[in-house]
C-alpha cells in the first residue's frame, strides 16, 4: 500500500530539482542568444559556437584533455581493476585487508588542493618537468581509487559459483577468469572508467598546480574564459562540454550492455 507523499515535501523536491537544473539549462539556452551582453532573449544565433573554432587555445585544450583523460582512464582502469582483484581475492589477514580497503578511500576524500600541492612539491624535488606528463601522472593517481572502489564493490557482490562450476568442469583459473569473471565485471570496469574519465576531463584544481608550459587543458582554458569574458562564448563551450559528457555516458551505457562473448567453457 503506497503512502501519499505530503504536498510540501513534493514542493520542496520540485524546487530542489529546479535549483539543480535551471542554471545549466539557462546557459545552454543563452548560448544561442543573439546578444553579447544582454540577459534578455534577442534571437537565435550560432555565432558564439563559430567563435569557439577561432580560438586555437580552446581546440588545443580540448585535444589535451581528451588525450590526458584517455590515457589516464585506461591506465587507471587496468591498475584499479587489478588492485580490486587483489583486495577481493587475495589471501591476507583480515586486518591488513580492511586497512588496505580503508586506505583506498583516502585519495577520494583528500581535498584536491592538498593533492595538487603535494604533487607539485614532489615533482619539484624529483626534478620532473611540469607538463602533459605530470598532469597525466596526477590524474592516474587519483583515478586508480575511483576505479578500484567501483570494481571492488562489484566483486564483493558477485556470485562466484559460476567460476567454481567452470573450474570443476575443467577450466584453469586464467580461462575461468577470462570467460566468466571479466564479462561479469565488465560493466563495473566501464562504470569506474567512465567515472575516472569524467573526473579527469573536468579536473581544474589539481591540474592547475602541476601544469607547465603549453599544457593548458580544457578546464584551465575555460577557467580563464570564465574569469575574463562576459560574452556568450563561455556559454557555448559549456554547452559543448555538457554534450561531450552526455555522449560519453550514453556510449559507456551501450558498451556495458554489450558484454564480451562468454563463449564455451573448457
Amino acid at each position: 500500500m503506497r503512502r501519499a507523499v505530503p504536498g510540501w515535501v513534493l514542493g520542496v523536491a520540485g524546487a530542489v530539482y529546479a535549483f539543480l537544473h535551471l542554471p545549466v539549462l539557462i546557459i545552454v539556452v543563452f548560448s544561442f542568444n543573439d546578444s553579447k551582453f544582454s540577459a534578455d532573449w534577442v534571437g537565435f544565433t550560432l555565432e558564439w559556437y563559430r567563435r569557439l573554432f577561432e580560438r586555437p587555445d580552446l581546440l588545443r585544450g580540448l585535444r589535451l584533455s581528451l588525450l590526458v583523460g584517455g590515457i589516464s582512464t585506461v591506465v587507471a582502469a587496468v591498475f584499479g581493476t587489478l588492485l580490486a582483484l587483489a583486495l577481493s581475492r587475495g589471501r591476507r589477514r583480515r586486518g591488513a585487508r580492511s586497512l588496505a580497503e580503508g586506505l583506498l578511500y583516502v585519495p577520494v576524500v583528500t581535498p584536491e588542493v592538498v593533492v595538487g600541492v603535494s604533487l607539485l612539491m614532489v615533482f619539484a624535488v624529483a626534478g620532473i618537468p611540469l607538463g602533459i606528463g605530470s598532469i597525466t601522472i596526477a590524474h592516474i593517481a587519483f583515478n586508480i581509487s575511483f576505479v578500484a572502489i567501483v570494481v571492488l564493490a562489484r566483486l564483493e557482490g558477485m556470485d562466484r559459483t559460476l567460476e567454481e562450476a567452470a573450474m570443476v568442469l575443467g577450466a584453469d583459473e586464467l580461462t575461468a577468469f577470462r570467460r566468466i569473471t571479466v564479462p561479469q565485471l565488465w560493466p563495473a570496469i566501464l562504470a569506474g572508467g567512465l567515472l575516472a574519465f569524467t573526473m579527469s576531463f573536468d579536473d581544474y584544481v589539481i591540474t592547475s598546480f602541476v601544469a607547465g608550459a603549453g599544457s593548458s587543458t580544457l578546464p584551465i582554458v575555460v577557467y580563464g574564459m570564465v574569469r575574463r569574458t562576459v560574452e556568450p562564448s563561455v556559454n557555448a563551450i559549456s554547452t559543448l562540454i555538457l554534450v561531450v559528457t552526455a555522449v560519453l555516458i550514453f556510449v559507456a551505457d551501450r558498451l556495458a550492455q554489450a558484454r564480451p562473448p562468454a563463449g564455451r567453457v573448457g
Binding site: 500500500m1 505530503p6 546557459i27 576524500v109 588542493v113 592538498v114 593517481a141 570564465v226
Partner: protein, 294 residues
C-alpha cells in the same frame, strides 16, 4: 591452449598464492605510494623547514609554520571554513532529505528522478559554477527578473557575496546528500510503517519514530559527503566569492602562488588533511553506531 608455459605459471602461482596477489596489487600500489603517499610525506617534510627569502626552503627544522597557523588570523579563517561547511551541510540536509523521501516513494518515476539527481554530478563543476555566475551577476538573469518584476530598484549584489558562495556549495554537493539518504530509505521495509499505523501512530510520529532513525546511516553518510568537500572547497569561494572570501583551500593555494611560502602552505595543508580525516572518522563511527542500533 594447454601448453606448458601456462601450466607451469599456474602451478607456480598455486604454490605461492601471496605472490599472485602481490603482482595484481603491485602496479596500483606502487603508483599510489609514489604519487600519493610520497608527496604527502614530502609535504610533511617541507612543513617543518624554514622558508627561503625568495620562496623555496632552506635547510633546518622549525615549528614556526605550525605555530603561525595558530595565530588568530589563520584560526579565524579555519573557523570560518568550518562554519561554511556546517552551514552547507545543514542546508543540503534540509533540502536533500525531502527529495530523497519523495524519490523513495515515487514508484514508477523512481529511475528517472534518480537519474535527474545524479545528472548534475556528471556535469562539469566548472560549468555548474559558471552557470551560477551567469545567473547571479548584476547584469545577469536573476537581477533582470527582479528589476522587471519591480522587486528591486537597482541590481541587487548577489554575486561575490557570502550568499553566492553558499549557493555554490549547496548547488555543488546537494546530489551527494540525496543519494545516500535515498539508499537507506529504499531499504526501508513498508511493513514497519504499516505496523506503526496499525498501532495508532500519526504520520509525523511514524516518521519521527520509524523512518528517521532507520535512515540515520544514510543521513550521516550524506553529511560526510557534503561536509568533507566543503572543508576543502577552493573553486567555489574563488569564483563566486570575488576573491574576498578566504577559505582554507584558498589559503593553501595562495601560499603556492602569491605568497611563495611553500612550507607554510604545506603546514596548512596538513591541518586541513587532519581535519578531513577526523571528520571522516567521526562520521564513520557515528554511522556504524546508528547502523547497529537500527
Amino acid at each position: 591452449m594447454t601448453g606448458s608455459p601456462r601450466r607451469v605459471l599456474l602451478e607456480w602461482l598455486h604454490r605461492r598464492p601471496g605472490i599472485g596477489t602481490g603482482v595484481l596489487a603491485a602496479p596500483a600500489g606502487l603508483w599510489l605510494v609514489a604519487f600519493f603517499l610520497v608527496p604527502l610525506l614530502v609535504m610533511a617534510a617541507y612543513s617543518w623547514m624554514p622558508r627561503g627569502i625568495y620562496g623555496g626552503v632552506e635547510a633546518g627544522i622549525t615549528a614556526e609554520h605550525y605555530r603561525r597557523f595558530f595565530e588568530p588570523l589563520y584560526l579565524r579563517i579555519l573557523g570560518r571554513t568550518l562554519l561554511w561547511a556546517v552551514g552547507a551541510t545543514a542546508i543540503c540536509l534540509a533540502l536533500g532529505y525531502p527529495v530523497a523521501y519523495a524519490i523513495a516513494r515515487s514508484g514508477r518515476w523512481r529511475r528517472w528522478l534518480l537519474f535527474l539527481v545524479i545528472l548534475p554530478f556528471w556535469t562539469s563543476f566548472l560549468v555548474r559554477t559558471f552557470a551560477l555566475i551567469f545567473l547571479l551577476r548584476d547584469t545577469g538573469l536573476l537581477n533582470g527578473w527582479l528589476l522587471r518584476l519591480g522587486l528591486a530598484a537597482e541590481p541587487v549584489p548577489l554575486l561575490y557575496t557570502p550568499f553566492a558562495v553558499m549557493v555554490g556549495l549547496v548547488h555543488g554537493y546537494l546530489p551527494l546528500m540525496v543519494l545516500p539518504i535515498y539508499a537507506s530509505l529504499e531499504k526501508l521495509d513498508p511493513a514497519l510503517l504499516e505496523a506503526a499505523e496499525v498501532l495508532g501512530a500519526r504520520p509525523w510520529a511514524r516518521f519521527r519514530r520509524v523512518v528517521l532513525p532507520l535512515s540515520r546511516p544514510g543521513v550521516i553518510a550524506g553529511c560526510l559527503l557534503v561536509f568533507v568537500p566543503s572543508l576543502g572547497a577552493y573553486l567555489t569561494p574563488d569564483l563566486l566569492g570575488g576573491a574576498k572570501q578566504v577559505m582554507v583551500g584558498n589559503l593553501v593555494q595562495s601560499q603556492f602562488a602569491t605568497a611563495r611560502n611553500w612550507p607554510f602552505g604545506a603546514a596548512v595543508s596538513f591541518v586541513l588533511m587532519a581535519l578531513v580525516l577526523v571528520a571522516v572518522l567521526v562520521f564513520l563511527r557515528a554511522r556504524d553506531r546508528a547502523g547497529a542500533e537500527g
